[in-house]
Symmetry: C2
Subunit: 308 residues, 2 copies
């Protein structure tokens, strides 16, 4: 393991989880500063109906802006074919659709059972293929609630494997495993990554999307790295922690993840002092919003950088 892609999802997963709407200019400043700190991929928003998530209403403008940032891969979340049409029109480089492994969760959240979701994935994949190869977005399926569901409880691993195969068969370029609920543990991460890679092929599963709900986020990330995961989603300041559970952070924290990878000698392209400075943008734009992470408070170890 010599290089890992840290994919910042804060502007999407973080901001959609809090009730306030960050002003467009602050979002742009955040994206620009984090890209300048060396983050190479940012999920800037989602193409959901603005009536449902007003925080994400400016996603098309953000995609247009982010495409002007040199070297940045611009990702968006799309809930369905309609969202994908908007993503393609906006010019996103990468589109992900969440596909909940818990059918109850899927029906509750997007009113679609598993066969309906596979049909939607197929429709998006077909639509994406109509784009010219040079501008065609990369289309990924995020296997949500893959490690357990807050409604159903445990989710069968064989079900995750079967639905991952169905997503690839329907035309997705790759699948990712999402611990939407913060239920995952390192042994489970290793087992499930291994099983899904075996089923869909090792190149078709590269990404883990982890939450730090029970404090195991970085341990789960480490387990994934050991099984060949090369992309880790994370959120600056762990933005988006559950307000109902104070202290229960949202996504794994970009600052701590980037520190761990750098300390381990894994290349990410990220300049740590610059990354830590980006946090000030969040603090200013969202005063009083809880932010998470330990490295920002503790600072880098003495002599860090000289040697890991």
């Amino acid at each position: 393991m010599t290089a890992v892609l840290v994919s910042e999802v804060g502007p999407r997963d973080g901001l959609q989880s809090i009730s306030r709407t960050m002003p467009l200019e602050a979002k742009k400043a955040w994206i620009r500063a984090e890209a300048e700190a060396g983050v190479r991929e940012i999920e800037v928003g989602s193409f959901v109906p603005p009536a449902l998530l007003p925080q994400m209403a400016d996603t098309a403008e953000l995609v247009a802006f982010a495409r002007t940032v040199p070297g940045l891969a611009v990702a968006v979340l799309v809930p369905n074919l309609k969202g994908a049409e908007r993503g393609i029109a906006a010019g996103a480089h990468k589109m992900s659709i969440p596909f909940s492994m818990s059918e109850t969760h899927s029906i509750r959240n997007v009113r679609k059972d598993h066969p309906a979701m596979v049909a939607e994935i197929r429709a998006i994949a077909d639509r994406v293929r109509q784009e010219p190869a040079e501008t065609r977005p990369h289309f990924e399926v995020g296997l949500a609630t893959a490690f357990g569901c807050t409604i159903e409880g445990p989710v069968e691993e064989e079900q995750v494997v079967r639905l991952a195969e169905a997503a690839i068969e329907a035309g997705a370029a790759e699948v990712g495993l999402s611990d939407t609920t913060g239920y995952a543990n390192p042994a489970q991460v290793k087992r499930l990554v291994r099983k899904v890679k075996a089923a869909v092929g090792p190149k078709r599963l590269n990404t883990l999307h982890l939450h730090n709900t029970r404090g195991l986020g970085l341990a789960n990330a480490l387990a994934g790295l050991e099984e060949g995961i090369t992309t880790l989603d994370s959120s600056l300041g762990g933005l988006g922690g559950c307000p109902a559970a104070p202290g229960a952070s949202g996504n794994i924290v970009t600052e701590d993840l980037a520190f761990m990878l750098a300390a381990m000698g894994i290349e990410t392209g990220i300049d740590l002092p610059k990354l830590l400075a980006v946090r000030a943008i969040l603090e200013e734009a969202l005063p009083g919003e809880p932010l998470y992470g330990f490295t920002p408070d503790a600072g880098l170890p003495l002599g860090f950088g000289g040697r890991a």
Copy 2:
């Protein structure tokens, strides 16, 4: 890996790091409740001069009390031979002496260079051997600042290996690796555990003492488990975080560690709901003191226990 010993160090490392003194009765209630929750080893205090650490002045009384708790291994920290004499007199089952791998840190903290520390370890080991075998305490050397020092910065791994060998040669039963400063990363943990085990023998290094200063505590614990570590120190509520760095927790959090191990199917003997309930004793005895950990806020996953 089927079983791990979680060694609670909060009554020592947590309480010595905060300025308030927890009343003796609250300490007893904490120790009793945590033992009843299934924790099998607790470091109840340290035999340092009460003038230096008044929070630890009642350690002898706590050892006497803890020895009455069924099945509990009673550990103490001793800084020198004089402390060890007090530990033996009190009837501790296990005594650890911190031995700082950074000589500057050692001189600054205990006014002893490395040769003086090895002489002290030898004097304690000789004294311990005079005790009858059936009551002789287990004597361990904690290799402090093994992953880096806040004064010296990086610490040479070969120096840690050499000093670990010296500690064993001087008569310690085993050594443990301590990330006193929260500098460790998983790659370094694996490397150093492997090197020290190779030098002193695999049975002579079983323990990791980790801090969560930069959020990597459980990832480091996982790395240690993968290299055959079988004892992990931790502190309930991560008590003892650095007040100068808010958010920078102290020891790894017992609650999150116990959840991780249980979720991975590793036996610890701990009843998680009972353990989570012990936190109320800290909250009541130390009102307003920052406590850490995510599992206590998030709760256990739905269906947890039925299946991991």
